[in-house]
C-alpha cells in the first residue's frame, strides 16, 4: 500500500506530456503572452517586427495597385480611341459614302438600260439592271452590293 501511494505521488510530480494543451513553441505559450514569464522587451520587438511587416505588405500592395491602375488606364485609353475611330467611320459612311454609293449604283443601272454592255459588270456585283422602263423607280441598290460580294 505504501509503495502504491508513493508511486501515485511520483506520478503527480512528473511533468505531464499533453500534446493538446501544451504549445510546441515555448515562446508562444499563454504565460509568455500575458507577460508573467517573458520580459516586455521581446514582446515590444515582436510588435515592431509585425508593424514593419504590415507596412512592408502595405507598400507592396500600393505598388501592385499602381501597376494595375496604370494597365487599366492604358486599356481605357486604347479602347476609347478605337471606339472613337469606329464611330467616326460609321458616321462618315452613313453621312457621305452611303448616299454616294446609292447614287452611283442607281446611275449605273440607268446607264445600263441604254448600254447593255455594262450589264455584265453590274451583274458581277449582284446589281440587277432595272427590269422596267427608265422612268420607274430604281430598287434599293445598296443591299445588293453587300449581299453577294466578289
Amino acid at each position: 500500500m505504501r509503495r502504491r501511494r508513493a508511486r501515485r505521488k511520483d506520478r503527480g510530480r512528473e511533468p505531464r506530456n499533453d500534446l493538446m494543451t501544451e504549445p510546441e513553441l515555448p515562446g508562444t505559450s499563454f504565460a509568455a503572452s500575458t507577460g508573467e514569464a517573458a520580459s516586455p522587451e521581446p514582446l515590444q520587438r515582436q510588435v515592431q517586427n509585425l508593424r514593419a511587416l504590415f507596412v512592408a505588405t502595405l507598400m507592396a500592395l500600393v505598388l501592385l495597385s499602381v501597376g494595375v491602375n496604370i494597365f487599366l488606364w492604358y486599356q481605357v485609353r486604347t479602347v476609347r480611341k478605337e471606339l472613337k475611330v469606329t464611330r467616326a467611320f460609321i458616321e462618315d459612311y452613313q453621312k457621305n459614302k452611303d448616299p454616294l454609293l446609292n447614287r452611283l449604283v442607281s446611275s449605273l443601272q440607268s446607264f445600263a438600260q441604254d448600254h447593255p454592255d455594262l450589264t455584265p459588270i453590274l451583274e458581277k456585283y449582284g446589281i440587277k439592271p432595272p427590269s422596267g422602263q427608265a422612268s420607274q423607280p430604281v430598287p434599293a441598290p445598296t443591299p445588293a452590293i453587300g449581299s453577294t460580294g466578289r
Partner: protein, 98 residues
C-alpha cells in the same frame, strides 16, 4: 512609433484610393469594350461594302476607257475628273469613293 502609425495610415489611404480608381477604370473598360463590340460588326459590314464599291468603280473606270459615254455620269459623281487625258496619265483623274 507615432510616425510609423501615420505612415501606415497614409499607405492604407493610398491603397483605398488605388482600389477605387481600379474599380472605376474596370467599369470604363467594360462599358467601352461592350460598345466597341456592338459597333464593330457594323463597321466591318460597311468596310466590306466599300471594298465592293471600290471594285465596282474600278471596273466602271475600266469600262469608261472603252465607252467614254459613261464619263459624264462619273464626273457628275466626282468620281472622275474631266481633265483626264488618254495615255500614260490614265487613272490619275480617277477618284476612289473612300
Amino acid at each position: 512609433m507615432m510616425r510609423k502609425d501615420w505612415f501606415a495610415s497614409v499607405l492604407v489611404a493610398v491603397l483605398f484610393i488605388g482600389a477605387a480608381a481600379a474599380v472605376v477604370a474596370s467599369f470604363q473598360v467594360g462599358f467601352s469594350t461592350r460598345a466597341l463590340r456592338r459597333l464593330q460588326p457594323q463597321a466591318v459590314a460597311f468596310q466590306a461594302r466599300l471594298n465592293i464599291a471600290q471594285a465596282l468603280l474600278n471596273d466602271t473606270l475600266e469600262y469608261s476607257k472603252r465607252n467614254p459615254a459613261i464619263d459624264p455620269l462619273l464626273q457628275s459623281l466626282n468620281l472622275k475628273t474631266n481633265a483626264a487625258p488618254a495615255g500614260p496619265a490614265q487613272g490619275q483623274g480617277e477618284r476612289a469613293p473612300q
